[in-house]
């Protein structure tokens, strides 16, 4: 099941449609998220920057107003520490000391004057001095020993010193990371769900289309009275089925008309032919043998030829319109060919023709026995009529890919190149032919009516080759695969 049906599923239109739809959906949602993420990140940054700017101003104010006595350091540190506890986006720190905020004041010559925060502040100062920090404009500073950068705001105090307030971006990044994680999970879920929904709905819809096309191909090969399944739904698929059925109605009525016409034609011609033939036979039995009988005899022979021509013409006409009515039964081509060779062998020997059959044993096909008999008789007649003395006819019968292949080869003059292209059309015959030019058209008609093909060509070494391919089972059964 898996390996055999996997490929068709991967090749089905439903699969492709769902794949493309899902891809478009995934890309779209991803783009929307990227925009959203950017907006959120900017907003968080803006908030922390606003806090930093505000706090650094407060601290600057405090630093300016506090008298530069022994308590100066303690006062400023206290204020800075208090400020550090009101950090926005704050998550619980893993360590007891507050490592997400630092306060730093430098002296006039850039030396570390005051430090509030985790550690001794030396790497922070180094990092700050390495980064160009514009006052009133928070900047990212990468401090050695910290994975995440600090956002640092600075302010110049009137006494010439600088104060710096740093806020770790750790919390901010953590918020964004959790946002991304949640989105990705949700996005994957949505994409999978979307794919599933699209795949199953298109598959359901397309399965109706497949049912219709299967039914239509069955109808094309066998029963014109059947119709494709229709649904109550008023969508495109429903319309397709209705349109197909309307088309089939028209085709069926056209074919029916064709049958009526050919039947009427056959009937109207056959009745007088019957009367004429009967009267000719009666006058023949009354006539003496010899000269009197001769014209009657040839009239009867002409009449029989005319009847045969009429039958073949109507068969060819119907077959060209795919309207030949078949009465299928089991036909063993191997046996049929042997009987046919037995029948034709004396005539062939008479003309010095050698006929050989190579066959892989019994080969049964489902076909209209009467038509196949006439078709093969036509093939033999063709060889018998057109081959010059002492030629060879090789007949090969074999089963190939569920079809019976019949090849007739001879070493005669081959087909007339002038008629080569129109060999299977009505009324086409070679220059020296005395037939009515229906033989090959009839063969083609019968083979096509059975869902097979017939090819004719001249062999490289001279001579003609006719290849007839007939499906072993009826095409109705083949169509279901």
């Amino acid at each position: 099941m898996s390996s055999k049906t996997a490929k068709p599923v991967l090749r089905s239109a439903a699969w492709r449609i769902s794949l493309w739809a899902t891809l478009a959906f995934a890309c779209g949602t991803m783009l929307v998220f990227v925009g959203l993420h950017r907006f959120v990140a900017d907003d968080i940054q803006r908030r922390s920057d606003a806090w930093l700017s505000g706090e650094v101003e407060v601290l600057g104010d405090v630093a300016e107003r506090t008298p530069k006595d022994a308590l100066y350091g303690r006062v400023v540190s206290e204020v800075a520490e208090l400020a550090g506890k009101e950090v926005p986006n704050k998550l619980l720190s893993e360590t007891s000391s507050n490592d997400s905020v630092f306060f730093l004041q430098t002296g006039e010559h850039g030396e570390l004057k005051l430090w509030v925060g985790a550690g001794n502040g030396v790497p922070d100062l180094k990092a700050i001095q390495a980064t160009k920090i514009v006052p009133d404009h928070p900047t990212d500073v990468h401090v050695e020993g910290f994975g995440v950068p600090f956002r640092v705001a600075s302010l110049r105090v009137d006494d010439g010193s600088y104060i710096y307030l740093g806020l770790s971006e750790r919390d901010e990044l953590r918020v964004l990371r959790s946002l991304r994680l949640r989105f990705i999970l949700l996005w994957l879920l949505l994409v999978l769900l979307g794919f599933g929904i699209v795949f199953f709905t298109t598959r359901r819809m397309l399965s109706h289309v497949r049912e219709i096309s299967e039914a239509a191909s069955r109808i094309g090969h066998s029963d014109l009275g059947a119709r494709v399944p229709t649904t109550d739904r008023n969508d495109e698929v429903g319309h397709l089925a209705l349109t197909l059925n309307r088309m089939l109605d028209r085709i069926e009525s056209t074919i029916h008309q064709l049958h009526t016409i050919t039947d009427a034609l056959a009937h109207d011609l056959r009745s007088p032919l019957t009367a004429i033939r009967g009267q000719l036979e009666m006058s023949l039995s009354a006539a003496m043998d010899g000269e009197q009988a001769e014209p009657i005899v040839s009239a009867i022979e002409e009449l029989d030829r005319l009847t045969d021509f009429l039958n073949k013409s109507l068969d060819v006409a119907e077959a060209k319109a795919d309207a030949l009515r078949l009465n299928r039964s089991d036909v063993d081509l191997d046996e049929l060919l042997r009987v046919m060779i037995d029948l034709y062998e004396p005539s062939m020997t008479e003309k010095g023709l050698m006929v050989t059959l190579r066959s892989g044993g019994p080969l049964r096909i489902s076909a209209d026995a009467a038509l196949v008999h006439r078709m093969i008789a036509n093939l033999f007649d063709n060889e018998l009529k057109h081959l010059p003395l002492s030629c060879r006819v090789n007949i090969l019968l074999e089963a190939r890919d569920g079809a019976a292949v019949l090849i007739l080869e001879d070493n005669g003059p081959g087909f007339d190149p002038d008629v080569m292209l129109h060999l299977f059309e009505r009324r086409v015959k070679g220059r020296d032919s005395n037939g009515h030019g229906l033989g090959l058209a009839f063969i083609d008609a019968v083979v096509r009516a059975h869902g097979g093909t017939v090819m004719a060509c001249n062999r490289d070494g001279g001579g003609a080759r006719i290849t007839v391919m007939l499906p072993a089972a009826s095409t109705q059964a083949m169509g279901l695969n």
């Binding site: 049958h259 039947d263 056959r270 009847t307 009465n327 004396p346 036509n378």
Partner: protein, 225 residues
């Protein structure tokens, strides 16, 4: 033998009537279904010939109606139609026969004989056939003429047997093809003639009375007189 001929075409009806009478049948003719029904129920017929295209009703409908009315005689259906109706096939399986127009008289007569033979109680099948000095041993598949064994192929024996069974009667090429080779075909070439020619070469030796006669335009006959 009483025969009911149901055929609306006057030309066909008249020539059939005269040839059938010549062949020894007592012929009653009807031109439409109603008349046929009346005649068939009243008179005791041994066999019926019914054309499918009647002016007032379909031939098959008529046959089915006659069967309902208790007419048991076998029917030879004549049709000018191209395709064989499924219902005709049904009748064919039921023991009736079917012939397409136009046909050879010999074939019509042969089919009538077959229908009558089928309907009569089966006699013991002969194991030997004898026509003048020609003798066929059906068990040993051997033929001899004037005591001389003929060297025949199996196919030639079947052909000769068919001619012997119809000795004195005309058989057409299509009858031979149908009965000996089991094919209803119309070859454009003289395949049957060549078979007959070969058979004649073996059966009618030098100085012997020719038995196999060709009736041009009609067929062949094995002389029994």
């Amino acid at each position: 033998m009483r025969l009911l001929l149901v055929e609306d075409e006057i030309d066909i009806q008249s020539f059939l009537r005269s040839s059938l009478e010549e062949a020894g049948y007592q012929v009653e003719a009807a031109s439409d279904g109603k008349a046929a029904e009346r005649l068939a129920v009243d008179g005791q017929f041994d066999i019926l010939i019914v054309d499918l295209g009647l002016p007032d009703q379909d031939g098959i409908t008529l046959i089915l109606r006659l069967r309902q009315l208790g007419v048991r005689a076998p029917v030879l259906i004549l049709s000018a139609r191209r395709s064989v109706d499924d219902r005709v096939r049904g009748l064919e399986q039921g023991g009736d026969d079917y012939l397409t127009k136009p046909f050879a008289l010999a074939e019509l007569l042969a089919r009538l004989r077959n229908l009558l033979k089928r309907n009569s109680p089966a006699g013991t099948e002969a194991t030997r056939l004898r026509v003048l000095d020609l003798e066929l041993d059906l068990l040993r598949r051997e033929a001899s003429r004037a005591g001389q064994v003929l060297q025949l192929t199996p196919q030639e024996f079947v052909l000769l047997e068919y001619l012997c069974r119809n000795a004195g009667r005309v058989v057409t090429r299509s009858m031979i093809l149908d009965q000996v080779w089991g094919m209803r075909i119309q070859p454009d070439t003289n395949v049957v003639d060549v078979h007959i020619y070969r058979l004649r070469g073996k059966v009618d030796g030098k100085g012997q009375q020719p038995l196999i006669r060709t009736l041009r335009g009609v067929g062949y006959v094995l002389k029994d007189r």
